[in-house]
Every structure is written in structure tokens, then in C-alpha cells.
Amino acid sequence: MKKFLLVLLIVFLGCISSSKAEIRIDVTGAQSEPLPFAMPDLIGDDGDELTQVVVDDLERSGLFRHINPNAYIQKFSSIDTRPNFNDWRAINAQALIYGTVTERFGKMTVAFRIYDVYAGTELYAKSFTADSKSWRKLAHMIADAIYERVTGEKGYFDTRVAFIDERGNQMKRVKRLAIMDQDGANLTYLTDGKDLVLTPRFSPNMKEVAYFSYKDGNPKVYLMDVNTRSSTLVGNFKGMTFAPRFSPDGKKLLISLARRGNSDIYTYDLATKKQVQLTNHPSINTSPSYSPDGKQIVFSSDRGGNQQLYIMNADGSNAHRISFGEGTYATPVWSPRGDYIAFTKIRHGQFHIGVIKPDGSGERLITNGFLVESPSWAPNGRVLMFYRKAPSRSDGSGGDSRLYTIDITGYNERQLITPNSASAPAWSPLLH
């Protein structure tokens, strides 16, 4: 009897376990291809132009691939039209974006929806309004919203870039301070080219640009108000100041001061004008850059024999080396998301752009060339901008330089179109 009950119990349990049974599978690894998306022109006047800016932004990121509109089956007449997902699955659109644009009293309003086609769910619906003249900014804001919703990371399309515009023979190079949108539009020159200018840096509030100039024969760091374009000398340093960088809160400026064949790092308080020396070492200490939380500073120094990367506390204490690779390291820049430090590396006569973790691990070189320099982070810490210069000829011709963007993975290197040669890019924070 006991045996019978036992067998009955086992059978019962077996039935239960089989009814609840499910297969368990581990999936490790995935593909990394641009996400195919469909975006019909926004319904309304000038909707096509606005749509094109959005599409260009997304495609330039390397994470999205726009499906040719000629392949679209469903046509939308209103933002309230329900998408027929099968039509979009048929063309392998994984995301669908559509909406309307209306203009009233000088204001432009864009309403749009984002759908996950395969899951058949709406991911996002939003409406933006801006001045009609700023329609490109509106488009960039939409692109940022799409990018953020689909990837989970902040966008970087509604941003600007400060850089040095270069023209003419290498012997008589004219360099001007310029700013433009991250896609190359709305180019504006801030200086006239009379004085040599180098290394522009945006302030976090975007109202000022710090840069190095030989203005009046005095090589110093200056601060320019972007709106009024008036420049002021930074500090009262005895010696040459260079390599400026704003603190994350925008209240201080890190500066390198060269004097008697030596250079050290200082902070300059923009409100109190107080300057504090952070390094005091008989070697070259330069190119300082704050961590996103403002608690640490990365800089380059040859105190160990050749130029390497070091990190110290914001007050100058606890300086320690983080790079130990072959070659020399320069121009370190801390990522806005804090996980990497970008740098320039010179090895075997070649220049490289690389990234390294703040603890000194995970060094990766992501691009190289005859001369690649001045890495600058996009505000989301996913993309780097730098310039690539070609060798010049003996007569001073050639030596063209251009701006490029590249993903931190080392993929999706793209040239940013500028009317002339361009160098020393500095990416602004997100504008909205």
C-alpha cells in the first residue's frame, strides 16, 4: 500500500513538474549593427527638411540605419494613424518614427511617436516647440530624444563645436577661432585671424570660450564671451599660460604655466581671480583635465623620464601615474561619464588616439595617423572628436587638417565637413 502511494505521489509530482517545465537557455553575445528604422517625412510644411536633419543625426551616430522611404508600404495622414506593424516588419524596420510639424506665429511645433515595430508597442510620444528660425535645433532635439529612448544613453546632437579654422600656406597660416553645430551647420567665426589662436575650450554654460592666443605678442590664455566676442586675459601669471580647461561647475579654470623651462598646473577662480598652484615639480606638468565630479585631475608629466599620464586630487595631492605603455602620452581628457580618459599617444613616429580607464587599465588605441591630436568628448561620453592632419610639403603647401568623429569602440570614424582646414575641436555640453 505504501509503495502504491509512493508511486502515485511520484507520478503526481512528475505531472506537476512537467506542466511547469520550461527550457532554460543562456544567450551570451549579440550583434552590433546599426538599428534599421523607418521615418517618413513629418507631415506638414518643411517636414521633409526637418526630417532629413533628424535622419542625418541618427545615421551619423553609427547606431541607426535609415530605411529608404521608397520601400515604405504604409502612408500616414495623421499622427493618430495606427501603424500597421506587419507593413513595417516586412521591410525589417525595427523602429518607426512618424509625426507632424506645424508652424504658428513664428513658433514651430513637432509632435512625433516612436514605435518598436517587432514588439508592436509605442516607446515614446513627445511634442517640441521652438522658434521657427531654430528649426535645426528643433530637429537636433528630436534626434536626441529618439537616440535616448532607443539606446538609453543621452544624445549629443543639440551641441556645438569650437575649433580652429585654418587657411593658407603653412608658412603664412591664418587661424581663426570658430564655432558651429556638431553637424557643421551654423558656422561662426569668433576671431579675425590676425592673432594665432589655439586650443579653444567651451565653458559648461556655453557662454564663454577659453583659448590660447599670441594676442599682442603675449602668449596667454584668454576668455571670450561668445555673444559679445570680447576677450579678457586670464589671470596675472608671470610666464606663458596655455592648455586651459574649465572645471565641471564652470567656476574655475585649470591652466598650465610655463616658466624657466618648467611648467606647472594652476587653478584660476573666475569669480575671485585667485590662483592656486597644484603641481610643484622640476618637470613638465601640463594638459590638466577635471574628472566629471571635479574631485580629481588627470594631466601629463615627464617626471618619470618620459611623458606619461598622472592623476592627482583636485588640491594637487596624491599624484600617481596611470599609464605605463611604450611611447609618450599627451592631452588627456576625462570622459563626461567618467569611465575613460582619452589621450594622444606618440609611438614609433605615429600618432594615436586612445582611451584608458582612470585606474590605468583597459588602454585601447582607437585610431592613428601621421598626426591625430586633440581628442574631445561628446557630452554623452560615447563619441570622440579629433583632428587629423596630413603631412605638408617643403614649400609649405598641403598639410590639410580635418575634424573627425569616432565611437569609443573604434568604429564609425566620420569626417565632419568644414569649409577649410580645421583643428583643435572642443565639443560643447548638451544645449537643452
Binding site: 527550457i23 537557455i25 550583434q31 514588439a119 560615447r382
Partner: protein, 329 residues
């Protein structure tokens, strides 16, 4: 001449002494042979006495499922081996000790008494089988006939209880019968704990006998089939390279599959507020649907085609998805 006779007499006396000494030597040799053979008998009969001791040491676990029992057996089997080692140690030291003989004699008396108690019988029989194994080693040193003489005693008892399997499988038979006997002893001793253990370990029972004909593996996919599905899903899963801390993201997904292999529903089991994780989880969910849209190339359609009788097993699929592997990332 006297000298000659005296010499002959001495020679005859010497020859008689020689014959006597030879005879004595032969007698000694014979006695030695007798003693040796007698001692070996004693030695070979001694194991049953040790068997009795071992049987009492057999541990009975509370668990009723087979897998743990197999583990237990593995743990228990060394015990008789240890006994064998003890026997070996005894051989050189106590070859002629009579006490061993006395211990051996009661053993056969106990064996016939065992039939009265069901559980002890099997244990005794099994242990005897194990003892026959070490005899193989002994055989090399001793005549085989003696060993054969002992075997017949336990064998007739084994045959009715254990299936007539080939001799080389005696070890497995011994283990199985030992397991069975232990189970019976446990059932007889503690029927209640058995019932409590079974419902709790119902799944583990299936897992334990997975390799058997009634095991859970019969209702599970093979490793290669699981790999196939994982590879298919991996090819459908598109994520952004360079996502921060992607290696730490594990998305748990449950896919509900229709009988024809189409995907009915996909649920993310561990959704978080973090926008990056959310996007990653959504991409994982999307991967299942993208695979589903591949028609006959869908991993779920393949399941429906290859394993239609196992629908109950794959109608729900639990997936742990991590975007980082040696490849893309």
C-alpha cells in the same frame, strides 16, 4: 677386511640417517603445506566475518531520490574497500592465528539465519559479492579452486534476488542491490520522512535520473539543441556597442511559444528603471520577435518541427541574455 666391513657398516648407517633426514624433511614440507593450505582456507573464510561488521556501518540517508543515493553509494563503497585493506594488512601478520578461524565459522551460521530478516539478507549478499572482488587479487597467490568453493554459497542467494546479469557486471549489480536494500531499510525504518522528502525534491528526482529512460532529460532539449537556439537568438539580438557596464547586464526573458513555433508573448522578468538597462532589455525582447519573423529559420519553428511531441517542454522558454561575449564586445 674388518676395516672394509666396518666401512660398509658405517656407510649403511650413514645412508639410513640420510634417508631418515630426507623423510623428516619431506614430512616437514608436507606439514608446512598442510598448514599453509589450512591457513589460506581460514583467511578466505575470514571475510564473511568482516562483512558482518561492515553491514552494520552502512548509512541510511533520509533522502529518497536516486541521485543523492548514488552519491551516497560512492561515499559508502570506500568502506568495504577500507575493510579489504585491513584484510590485506592482516594477511602477513596473522596468517596462522586461529581466532580468525573461529570468527569465520560463525559467519556461515549467521548467513542461514539471515533469511528471517529481509533487509540484512541483501546487505550480506552484497557485501559478499564485494569480497569476491578482492579474492581476485588473492587468486594470484592462492589456488583458484578454493575461491570457487566459496562462491557457490552466496551465488544461489543472489540469483533469485538479483537479475541474472552477466558476471562482469557484478559491481553494478552490487551497487544497485545495495541501493535497493538501503531504500527498503529506510522505508521500513522511516516511512514518514520519505513522504516529506519526495514532494520537496520532486524536481531533483527528475534531474537525478536525467540520464535514465524516465529522466527529465527525456523532456529536455539536448545541449546542441540549446546551443542552436542560443546561436539563433544571438544572431537576432542587436545591441549598441560600447554600452557602459554591458558585461554586467543580464536580461531575464520568458518567451511563450505557440505549438506551431510562433511566438505568442515575450516578457522581461527583471526590468529596471535605468534607461540603459531598459533599452538593452527591450532589444533582448525584440530579438525574440525578430527571430520569430524569420519563418522556418526561427529557432522556435525548428523546435516545433523537430520536437513536436515535447511541446510541453518548450512552450515556455526562460532566457538569460547577456550581450557581452568574446565576439562583438
Amino acid at each position: 677386511m674388518m676395516n672394509f666391513y666396518e666401512d660398509e657398516h658405517e656407510i649403511s648407517r650413514h645412508s639410513s640417517c640420510l634417508g631418515l633426514s630426507v623423510g623428516l624433511h619431506i614430512l616437514i614440507l608436507i606439514l608446512m603445506c598442510f598448514n599453509f593450505a589450512w591457513n589460506t582456507d581460514e583467511f578466505e573464510k575470514s571475510p564473511p566475518a568482516i562483512l558482518m561488521v561492515d553491514l552494520t556501518k552502512v548509512k541510511i540517508d533520509e533522502k529518497t531520490n536516486l541521485p543523492p543515493l548514488v552519491k551516497e553509494v560512492k561515499k559508502e563503497t570506500p568502506q568495504p574497500q577500507e575493510v579489504k585493506k585491513e584484510e590485506k594488512k592482516v594477511e602477513p601478520k596473522k596468517e596462522n592465528k586461529t581466532p580468525l578461524v573461529k570468527k569465520v565459522e560463525p559467519a556461515p551460521k549467521v548467513e542461514p539465519q539471515k533469511p528471517k530478516e529481509v533487509a540484512p539478507k541483501k546487505e550480506a549478499v552484497k557485501v559478499q559479492e564485494k569480497k569476491t572482488e578482492p579474492k581476485k587479487e588473492v587468486k594470484k597467490k592462492e589456488p583458484k579452486k578454493e575461491v570457487k568453493k566459496e562462491k557457490p554459497k552466496p551465488q544461489p542467494k543472489k540469483q533469485p534476488k538479483v537479475a541474472p546479469k552477466p558476471v562482469p557486471k557484478k559491481q553494478n549489480q552490487g551497487l544497485q542491490s545495495l541501493l535497493a536494500s538501503v531504500e527498503k531499510v529506510r522505508k521500513a525504518a522511516n516511512p514518514a520522512p520519505q513522504k516529506a522528502a519526495l514532494p520537496a525534491s520532486g524536481e531533483t528526482v527528475n534531474k537525478g535520473i536525467a540520464g535514465g529512460t524516465e529522466g527529465s532529460l527525456m523532456n529536455d532539449l539536448t545541449i546542441s539543441e540549446k546551443d542552436l537556439i542560443a546561436n539563433k537568438i544571438r544572431s537576432c539580438w542587436n545591441v549598441n556597442a560600447g554600452v557602459q557596464d554591458a558585461d554586467k547586464m543580464i536580461i531575464e526573458v520568458r518567451a511563450f511559444i505557440n505549438k506551431d513555433g510562433s511566438v505568442r508573448e515575450v516578457k522581461i522578468l527583471n526590468m529596471k528603471q535605468d534607461p540603459i538597462f531598459r533599452s538593452m532589455a527591450e532589444s533582448a525582447k525584440r530579438a525574440i520577435y525578430v527571430c520569430d519573423a524569420k519563418g522556418e529559420d526561427s529557432p522556435f519553428r525548428i523546435l516545433a518541427n523537430k520536437r513536436p511531441n515535447m511541446y510541453n517542454s518548450w512552450k515556455q522558454i526562460y532566457l538569460r541574455m547577456n550581450p557581452v561575449d568574446g565576439g562583438v564586445y
